[in-house]
Amino acid sequence: MKDTRRRYRSIRCLAAVAVLALAATACGGEGDDPAAGETADEAGTQEPGAEEPGGAGEATGDASAVVCEDIGTVRFGLTSSVSDAPLFIADERGYFDEVGIDAEMVDFASAAQMIAPLGGGQLDVGAGAPSAGFYNALSRELNFRIVADKGSMPENYGYMPLLVRADLYESGEVTGPEDFAGLRVAEPAQGTATASTLNTILESSGLDYGDVQHEFLGFAEHVTAYENEAIDASLTTEPSATIIEEQGLAVRLGTPPDWYDNQQLAVILYSEDFIARDDRAGTCTMIAYLRGVRDYVDALDDGQIDGDSEVAQIIQDRTGLSAERLVQITPNWVDPDGRLNQDSLETDYAFFEGEGLLEGEVDLGQIVDPSFAEAAVAELGEYEG
């Protein structure tokens, strides 16, 4: 009897501990990093307004006061795609080490999955496309900032071509986006920058976004979708676009720069916790990142990656792409000084708003912060490609 009572008491205690542990893990908003709770004061330097999620006008990056050493661990979220090349290069060539950063790269299936960890402080730096989900997270007070270019599409760098199924093109049924009415067009998800790209293309061809049937599929699934003739057209990113064309499944009608020049397709994000914990970390991270960007840009040759370069080897090693495939695909462009195309961000934001996908209002001026890139450029000098 006593044994039974003792056993039940133990079970009750264990259950209580389990409930408390569950409740503790549910208290989101703070990362595991003990440095997450540090303020700018504790880091020894104080930037005006640095403790508050300030606007772009409040410069939180300042090269002149920054000594890049002993920054500590910085967690980066990646999708391990070719567009992460500058981060791979910076990591492989020790640029992060040189500024005292222990870079920890975390893989995510998509940029959407980075939002919660970024907002909750479990991730310091994210990389992805500004989407409706991204802005909705910001309106829910998951705080992070857009700090630098990570992928844009000027001429020759349209790495998300517009494709149409080969049989439709060869029959003459579809020769351009003006023939897209009623077609099933694949995009990666609802409310992405890709959707805004498609909208711009359709509008310039006399159609509306609603004139086509939208199929939301991951880029890798576009290959299967063309094989099954489940879609008629798509905006597909590399390397899937090249694979589709090689298999004769679809034909390239054009690239986004033909209709929407220099769209800001991917950006670097800093979580507010990361900015607040150590005001050097943001600038020093940017210095290393821009060095990686410049090495990447140096390996580009008129819309192609130089297959013989060390940069190409780094990209192959980190993404698993073959050397042959790497020189076939259209790479993304990254501004060597990290400059953002804010007009493009505003265009895409207006599209999301028009489609009713935003649950709250976000002031872009408050979340776009070019100061870290500017501080890094002040340190490195302007890029002279």
């Binding site: 908003g29 919660a116 989407s131 989900g133 199929e215 599929l217 979708a225 489940a230 879609i231």
Partner: protein, 279 residues
């Protein structure tokens, strides 16, 4: 209903200790259980609401139940929720039968006939541990992005528990029942109908219940890829748009469907297997 306790008359002058006392009615056990079943989730929801209100949990990731129900109302009013639910239920219905019937048939055959069991058991046991969600790209390749791939996913989920439990159920029938049937000159079809199937029914129903649950899980997963409707799509799309309340609504509706399904199957089980004791 109250019950008056009858006692023999007491001696004169002595008070009757139980005079006027009525025995309190005891709550029916079934009623108690129903109250617990309803009350427990309500208490948990109330605690959750309180935890959000007092900032014990982060509302950005765990919105208050009141905001979830509010979103649910909006989605129901617009017809969006009903549309997605109907699509998922339709896929579940067809997938369920597509998985159940072959599973039942193969399970009985494996249970009754040794050569069939020897031939198919390794295949069933070997393929069962393959995560069904990992098969999704292959299924999309074979069946395309339309309804067929979603229904097939459900069917696969239902098939395995049904075939394994049916075979096991038939196997555990004591041989004496077959001997008696044989002695009475029963043909194979009669043995199947009057011995194997009823005897294996408890195991079969367990398999059906497990299969239905797995089918519901898999339809949600299947609808996250290459779908534009269904509860799985609604959840995935809500995550893409960071519409957290909508995501929770989807999860809640799936939970409700799962519960209703289990109640329904319990009732079916009760009618098909009246001899199975209810503990």
């Amino acid at each position: 209903m109250s019950e008056t306790i009858h006692r023999p008359p007491t001696s004169a002058g002595q008070p009757d200790p139980v005079a006027g006392m009525e025995k309190k009615p005891r709550m029916n056990r079934r009623t108690q259980e129903r109250l617990l079943a309803i009350g427990t989730p309500l208490v948990l929801l109330a605690l959750w609401e309180l935890a959000v209100a007092t900032n014990v949990i982060d509302a950005r990731f765990f919105p208050a139940p009141s905001s979830i129900f509010s979103r649910m109302f909006d989605l129901a009013s617009s017809g969006e929720l009903l549309g997605h639910t109907f699509v998922s239920l339709r896929r579940l219905f067809f997938g369920f039968w597509l998985g159940l019937l072959p599973g039942l048939l193969l399970g009985v055959l494996m249970g009754l006939f040794r050569p069939i069991r020897a031939a198919l058991s390794p295949l069933v046991s070997g393929t069962y541990p393959i995560p069904k969600s990992a098969l999704l790209p292959l299924i999309l390749l074979i069946f395309g992005l339309g309804e067929a791939s979603k229904i097939v996913m459900v069917a696969i989920g239902v098939f395995y528990p049904v075939v394994m439990n049916t075979a096991s159920g038939v196997l555990q029938i004591q041989s004496i029942y077959y001997d008696v049937a044989d002695n009475f000159g029963a043909g194979r079809a009669q043995v199947f109908r009057t011995v194997a199937l009823p005897g294996a029914m408890p195991s079969i129903m367990t398999g059906v219940e497990l299969g239905a649950g797995l089918g519901l899980i898999l339809i949600a997963i299947a609808e996250m890829v290459g779908a534009s409707s269904g509860l799985g799509y609604m959840i995935w799309n809500a995550w893409q748009l960071y519409s957290v309340e909508t995501m929770y609504v989807g999860l809640l509706v799936i939970a409700i469907i799962g519960y209703i399904l289990s109640l329904f199957l319990n009732e079916v089980s009760r009618r098909l297997i009246p001899w199975r004791s209810d503990r």
